[in-house]
């Protein structure tokens, strides 16, 4: 009986200590500035307008466009299917399931790239995966997809093909009249239960 008594005498006070102290809610995980700089320099966080246009035209369900501008700006114009998460309210609980998930590609965009990059840095700092930034923002989008400039006829075939794709995609995505406001609200995404990043086989007994 003795060793069991000792065991209980150790374990129960430890439990009492845990019950008494406040829970630790700080998150020691932090992206080191070095890592972040490396990541930013590599430009891996960018989705080019062509990639996004291609996914939009082919109705790729893994793409989620997130407009980080204010609600007013979003109402005026937004990319087809985009949802609006203003940068100022990004950390609210209601958006957590959208920005912390491992099923889809979230692509942030704003007019330029500054706000979208800020949003990306936030999610990066929080350790969330699968968040990206639309390269060049809406301005560049309008320039390349909505109103592409024809390359000179002496250009290589790839340039011409790119132009043709952009022209087609621009038309399909409501090009020409750029400031056309689409009044229909963005489709609500089904709620995704957040899943942890790494899945490993767990041991039973």
């Amino acid at each position: 009986m003795k060793p069991r008594l000792y065991l209980a005498l150790i374990i129960i006070p430890l439990g009492l200590i845990l019950a008494a102290v406040p829970a630790n809610t700080t998150h020691p995980y932090k992206l080191s500035p070095q890592d972040l700089l490396e990541y930013v320099n590599s430009g891996m966080q960018y989705f080019s307008p062509d990639e996004v246009a291609h996914m939009l035209v082919s109705k790729d369900p893994s793409l989620v466009l997130i407009d980080v501008r204010s609600e007013d700006e979003y109402e005026k114009f937004h990319l087809p299917g985009a949802i609006n998460i203003p940068l100022s309210s990004m950390l609210e609980d209601q958006w957590k399931d959208y920005i912390n998930q491992d099923l889809r590609y979230n692509v942030f965009y704003s007019n330029g790239t500054v706000n979208a990059n800020q949003a990306w840095m936030l999610t990066r700092q929080l350790g969330y995966q699968n968040n990206y930034v639309l390269q060049g923002g809406l301005n560049y989008w309008v320039e390349t997809i909505m109103n592409p400039t024809a390359p000179p006829s002496t250009s290589p075939d790839e340039e011409i093909a790119k132009y043709d794709f952009r022209k087609g995609a621009g038309q399909a995505l409501g090009g020409g009249a750029v400031v056309e406001s689409s009044s229909q609200p963005a489709p609500a995404l089904p709620k995704i239960a957040p899943r942890p990043k790494k899945k490993r086989v767990e041991g039973g007994c």
Binding site: A20, G127, P196, G204
Partner: protein, 196 residues
């Protein structure tokens, strides 16, 4: 600092190596404490030997205390620790099937490999049955999938469900476990078995 892998403190390969060492240690201790005997394991269901209950609850308590203290010292971020997602009905039915296999076969999956490694024939048959079950499940998966993935509950935890602090729940579980150990020892005296 932790979890070690997610924060890239150790690589995936180091992780596998550590898991390999820990696995060998785990199997060794299981075998040396008699867990390769199906009679000892089945004793849990008849009440003459409740070592299974005691061992696994002690392991759970030690792990809980360890994790919470490490979280307190900022050694690990509990939000990043993997929590098994809960699919309610498949968990209940799966648990029942596992229990039925446990009591008829006399092993649970881990201990069957312990038994097989010291040459127990019944453990080898148990492993064969396990693979048969895996094959049947895999082949019937299209039929079972809606059930298997149904009633998804996310990753609920006891403190969350009860609205209590982690530490309070841990203390509660320790007290409950101590009570169960006491009942277990009482059952061992009540339903003794001479040789098994």
């Amino acid at each position: 600092m932790g979890p070690l892998i997610i924060n890239d403190i150790i690589t995936q390969n180091t992780n596998f190596f550590l898991a390999f060492l820990i696995g060998i240690g785990f199997g060794f201790v299981l075998e040396s404490s008699g867990f390769s005997s199906s009679r000892k394991l089945a004793g849990m269901f008849y009440g003459y030997d409740t070592v299974v209950l005691k061992v696994f609850f002690t392991a759970a308590i030690v792990a809980m205390l360890g994790l919470l203290f490490m979280s307190l010292f900022n050694w690990i971020d509990l939000d990043m620790v993997y929590v098994n997602p809960t699919y309610l009905w498949s968990t209940i039915i799966g648990g029942a099937i596992m229990g039925a296999g446990f009591i008829t076969g006399g092993f649970c999956p881990g201990t069957s490999f312990c038994g097989a490694s010291i040459g127990k024939i019944d453990a080898m048959f148990f492993i064969g049955g396990m693979f048969l079950g895996i094959i049947i499940f895999a082949e019937a998966y299209p039929l079972l999938e809606p059930f298997y993935k149904g009633s998804f509950k996310g990753t609920p935890t006891l403190p969350h469900a009860l609205g209590l602090k982690d530490g309070v729940v841990v203390l509660g579980i320790i007290i409950v476990a101590m009570g169960m150990f006491w009942v277990g020892e009482w059952a061992e005296k009540k339903f003794p078995r001479e040789e098994y």
